[in-house]
Symmetry: C2
């Protein structure tokens, strides 16, 4: 089937990606058939190949684009911040906020690394390494400046990323806590965890509680 | 095929469970066929039903047994400890150690909740809730005693569990750090994170580094 350049190309591709994310999230990559994917989008199975090369390429693109988005937006969030404490606070706030809205992509990026072919796996691990390195560098700078106390930078990097990403398993919009309250709770854990307790905002530190009005929370 | 009570019953069941864990870990529950599972064990597909009722029951048993083991062993680890700081240290040490050896079971328990039928899902979420509640109670007691400073108990509980479980994604035996060094690094992050920095062991606190001889580390 010839590759067509039609006006609906990008729209169809976007629909394929969205359906792909949902199907992989719900059943896993191995269990997703291209026939089912096409049916979800409302096109013939053969027409998929006008938009994607293979199922593997679709998975790779989804995971790769997710991490590239993360990297690009993180660099915007960190821009202009030179102080490690400010950088770490910005990192926490960015990572938590981003992960509140990308639960499915995050799940796929974590659970379907197993399904990437070796070349694709290596590329994704390298990208993920670049993201981890941003956090590792902040921690390293904070230790150098004497404002952080960290036993092992690598373990702390992985542990903090896991802590922040864990949000994806329980966060639901409209729950007990506001976004700001959730960010503040994570900020306290991470900044205190690396020994920068004095850097946590006054309101949280003084009372040990969230400001009044932090409303009603969710775990579905 | 009639159900047989043979001397190899438990052995075969154990082989089925092990193969099931591996296949689900590698390809996902939906993609695991019972035919393939039987072939891995070296029995006829029909013979599976001498040992398990359904594929769903196998998944449920694997996940449920994993969390029941966790709960039972946690209670042993906490037995006789009344001080929240000691309890939290014991919780961290137990959870990290346990998760060093159960990477596949943990991955399945987290990634295949989606594949549990509603009744089974509810049972597993309740069991998981009981485990989470152990940690939440330790945090609550520590706040009451004035030794912990926690913004939100529920968020801190989920975040600390995610932090500790994150180990499964990178830990490999024989890496750069000893088990003890990895436990110490996690202990520092968690105890400091809840404001119990003064409770962290002197050696780690004073130097901010691991003892010399903490050897050579891994991420594959």
């Amino acid at each position: 089937m010839a590759r067509t350049i039609g006006s609906h190309g990008p729209t169809t591709l976007e629909a394929i990606r969205k359906a792909g994310v949902r199907l992989i999230y719900e059943n896993g990559y191995e269990a997703m058939s291209l026939r089912k994917l096409a049916a979800e989008v409302g096109i013939q199975a053969g027409s998929l190949y006008n938009h994607i090369s293979t199922k593997q390429d679709l998975l790779f693109d989804l995971v790769q684009d997710h991490i590239n988005d993360l990297l690009r937006e993180l660099d915007l969030a960190l821009a202009g911040k030179a102080d490690p404490v400010e950088q770490l606070r910005a990192f926490v706030s960015f990572h938590v906020t981003y992960h509140m809205t990308r639960k499915r992509e995050v799940f796929i990026a974590n659970s379907e690394l197993r399904s990437l072919e070796p070349k694709n796996y290596d590329a994704v691990v390298a990208l993920r390494g670049a993201y981890e390195q941003r956090l590792a560098q902040i921690l390293t700078d904070g230790v150098s400046d004497g404002v952080f106390e960290v036993v092992d930078i690598q373990v702390a990097t992985f542990a903090i990323l896991a802590l922040l990403t864990g949000l994806c398993t329980w966060y639901r919009p409209g729950g007990r806590l506001t976004r700001e309250a959730i960010i503040a709770a994570h900020e306290k854990l991470v900044l205190s965890g690396v020994g920068a307790a004095q850097a946590v905002t006054g309101e949280v530190r003084e009372t040990g509680r969230l400001p009044h009005g932090a409303a009603a929370g969710a775990r579905s």
